[in-house]
Amino acid sequence: MGRGPVSGVFLRLFALRRRVYDHRAAASPSLFASLFAAGTLKDDTMLSASLNRIFALVLRYWYLLKDSWPRLLDIVYWPTVELLMWGFLQAYLAEKTSVTALAGGALIGSVLLWDILLRGQIGFSVSFLEEMWSRNLGNLMMTPLRMYELLAALGVMSIIRLLIGLVPVTVMAIVFFGFNLLGMGLALAAFFANLIITSWAVGLFACGIVLRNGLGAESFVWSVSFLLLPLACVYYPVTVLPAWLQPISLALPPTHVFEGMRALILENRFDVSEMLWAGGLNLVYLTAASIAFAAFLRSARRSGALLQLGE
């Protein structure tokens, strides 16, 4: 019961056992029945069949992306605008004040890490919205595709879209502002992993809302992550918040990532405990989002919402 779809993917994809599908396998009666019930492809392994389906969907989203310059432009546009705006603001303030935080590049670091979180979530959710926009979800639901495979494909696409948007911006940060995100070294990998998992959890929850309520709830996908902007202390330390708000902030995984980033840039110290907190909280949030998505899917099946994917 405790497994979420994404953790289920990893359990399946990296399982050492490669057992042949059982046509008579009974479905689990649990909440995750639709996500984890056994498969059936004869003469094929669970792993290869599952990977093949995930690849098929990634291929579908890649076809869509590579042939659409407006989509590609959209991915690069906003991170570029944000970087330039905050970067020049930091340069201006650094000239006028003596605050070391501004000179240290913490602001640009915050912008880039925030973009990982925001673009990761939007990248995850938009691929799902593509299915709703094209009214293709019914087709997909009738294939042997498992829901966790769809979610795994959304995760892969969120990383692909993120890299398309982030690589040019990272180069621009070096060229224009002398800030090298890659200079964070291995710490960046920890920050990235934690932020991307948070983005999937938020994206998964947003997809569930749209699945249950139709495209009328689409704006939720675009706005949900911005709730984290003030609460997760992206641009300032937790201590700035009122005392009563700090526990709420500390209950969010990104808060620990941004605190960790500031410790690294301003104090040249990698705080492992912050990363452990972020990782643990992410596990809780991803599991909760998985449960919520499964519940939304069941509710959509009960209400007939899967057939009425419009507004």
Partner: protein
């Protein structure tokens, strides 16, 4: 392969309620192997809800819908690779080319000889001229042929068709019917067909299930129903059922 003695499609006391509103009320029917059964009824009769429950897209409130022995509410993944469907109300991704769409769906269905299968379908359904065009830029008839290709890509044993010839010109509609007849004959496929086109039903269906207000009001072979209602066509029978006239009662 199908289990001996078990109908590929079996619906038992199937019901669906949305709060106080009943969409389908305890219907039972089955479709024998290698046959075509028509699911008929006016708008709101419960056909689409019934097909959606058969596809596992809607959870029944009561009863069960089985395909190839699997309860589609709980065990659909045991048989999904052996069935397929076509509906004009579910579209193929429009920005992808026909070939890209068929590649994606072929992989999702785990079709082993995918390139050969796409080539085969392109010839059978005359898709060659627009195989590399975006699906959204095709005419209605071409889109229907592509949707048919998608529905046949995994060589399904059971095919669910929701108004497969809706909004097609008579020539294209006839072409689609001919292809469905051939596929059924050659593959021994079992087909459930929801349609408003009565000549199509007479031509394709071995049996007909007539629904009204969420219940089955009559069923039988088209010729049997025509004779029972004292009519000349299924169109007249349909009108009798839709307007609540009894068998043999004059219009």
């Amino acid at each position: 392969m199908q289990q001996l003695g078990v109908n590929p499609i079996a619906v038992t006391r199937l019901g669906k309620r949305y709060g106080p509103v009943g969409a389908v009320d305890g219907i039972s029917f089955s479709v024998p192997a290698a046959s075509v059964t028509g699911l008929l009824g006016g708008n709101g009769a419960g056909k689409t809800t019934t097909i959606a429950m058969l596809m596992g897209l809607i959870t029944p409130s009561s009863g069960e819908a089985r395909i190839l022995g699997a309860d589609m509410a709980h065990q659909r993944h045991q048989v999904l690779h052996r069935i397929n469907f076509e509906s004009p109300y579910v579209e193929m991704p429009m920005r992808l080319t026909v070939r890209q769409n068929l590649k994606v769906f072929g992989r999702l269905y785990g079709v082993a000889d995918l390139k050969d299968r796409i080539d085969e379908l392109a010839v059978e359904l005359a898709l060659q001229d627009f195989l590399d065009r975006p699906s959204g830029k095709l005419s209605a008839g071409q889109k229907t042929r592509v949707a048919l290709a998608k529905s046949l890509i995994n060589r399904p044993e059971v095919l669910l068709l929701d108004e497969p010839t809706a909004s097609l010109d008579p020539d294209t509609a006839d072409w689609v019917r001919t292809h469905l007849e051939r596929y059924r004959r050659e593959r021994g496929a079992t087909i459930l067909l929801a349609s408003h086109n009565m000549p199509e039903v007479e031509r394709l269906c071995d049996d007909v299930v007539m629904m009204k207000g969420g219940v089955i009001v009559d069923q039988g072979a088209p010729s049997e129903l025509i004779s029972r209602y004292g009519r000349e066509t299924m169109e007249d029978v349909f009108l009798d059922v839709a307007r609540g006239r009894r068998q043999g009662e004059a219009a």
